[in-house]
Symmetry: C2
Subunit: 233 residues, 2 copies
DNA sequence: CGTTCAATTGATACGGATCAATGCAAGTGG
DNA sequence: CCACTTGCATTGATCCGTATCAATTGAACG
């Protein structure tokens, strides 16, 4: 039987704010679920019925425009919180980009529990404020930056999150990592088409800034160059 | 002397969650400030030193790109909360678009007070989640929609917020209102140039969808048409 | 009446979307 | 083991929308 004690995201997720006893109580409300790649766990516009923590895997949040295009609103990693508490409808869909495991709670039960545990709500608030800052950062990118700058920004963020070991500000070692998604997802995220993304990657490769050993893997060879592109127009 | 009792946003702001006694306590921490149009009360990148509620007036949140362009991240109205609690730096600037009054608190003192008053934190959380949803909606618009759709969406939102009386879903009466900002601010918000905004307004006017009696005032004559434009490409 | 600043209008250039074709790897069945 | 399919990525050619540069109009104000 699984216990919160050996949970791999225990210290990073919102649960960190709970005492062992409270944890036990929360745990009794929820259950762990295994999600297959590509499966959607929440739908845009649906009533919000569940919330939870990502234990393992990567998810995307998406919304669709009235004319059918899909926009990715964010990428969520292990220890991130997904779902909309205290609200009737979910403003976005949540879909697994990889096989995943999540720790889920019925929304109503979670809401009630949260209201009784101020520290948990505080964690959630803190996290929401960070998410808000992040979303606003992306707004700037989507509104103003060129395709090249968008791709560069994206690659830097992915390198940071998926290959955190490889080099800091002046990291001279190539950051190598596996993308948890294909070109279409990248395009959806960056507000570009798949062709444009492809062209930019090709260009960066030909300039020696990155390497693309295969479809899903990527290496950042020249971080400084990427940073420059990300800042420029 | 001003008291919270007769505050015009008392019932809409986060303070609604406090008892008269708690309110008194919070009030003692802060003070009311009058802000002139155009004045910036918080700067992007600065340490977050104050937070507060808008009592009167309209503010914009902005961030700048590395190459100097300004992007507006959101518009805040009376009863909205501004500033970044629980965080060291502010991710955006906050500037008054009109003459305004705000009820401000030193950030550290507010943080401390909030942590002792779960209901206040709950209000703040609820508000943050709504803001997050709103920000993500804008992301979709900025990433995917045409200039025409952006302007249409914007006008609909302004009509709703600035002329709430004039017609609901099928509102056939023209919604007339005063914009609290000029073309440059609109452009900054929509991720367009001032020229493009102007052209779209001209076009909508020539099609009989809107009227622009003067620079700052606006009337939506055909709401349905705007809605159609907002949804399309 | 001239000054000033914002808004509008016009002409052109360019970036990314779109449409269409090709390339490439993994899987399938003969 | 090799033809064939299938799904994604890449590359190419063209078009369209918005930015950009530049000029004009219009309103507010001294």
């Amino acid at each position: 039987m699984n216990t919160c004690g050996n949970c791999s995201v225990r210290e990073a997720a919102i649960c960190r704010s709970l005492s062992p006893c409270e944890l036990e109580e929360l745990k009794s409300l929820g259950c762990e679920r295994v999600i297959e790649q590509g499966h959607t766990v929440m739908w845009e516009g649906d009533e919000s019925v569940m919330v939870g923590n990502i234990i393992e895997g990567v998810f995307k949040l998406t919304a669709s425009t009235a004319d059918g295009e899909e926009q990715t609103l964010g990428i969520m990693f292990p220890s991130d919180f997904i779902g909309r508490p205290f609200g009737a409808t979910s403003s976005h869909s949540v879909t697994a980009l990889t096989d995943a495991r999540i720790c889920t709670f019925p929304r109503a039960a979670f809401d009630h529990f949260a209201r009784d545990h101020a520290d948990l709500e505080h964690s959630l608030l803190s996290r929401s404020l960070t998410e808000l800052d992040r979303a606003r950062q992306w707004m700037v990118i989507l509104a103003r930056k060129s395709a090249r700058a968008r791709v560069a920004t994206f690659l830097l963020e992915m390198a940071e999150r998926l290959a955190p070991d490889a080099g800091g500000a002046y990291g001279d070692k190539p950051a190598r990592f596996e993308l948890p998604f294909g070109r279409q997802d990248m395009a959806d995220m960056l507000g570009l088409t798949i062709e444009t993304v492809s062209r930019q990657l090709t260009r960066l490769r030909s300039e020696g800034v990155i390497e693309t050993p295969n479809r899903r893997s990527l290496a950042v060879l020249d971080r400084r160059a990427l940073e420059a592109f990300a800042k420029a127009g």
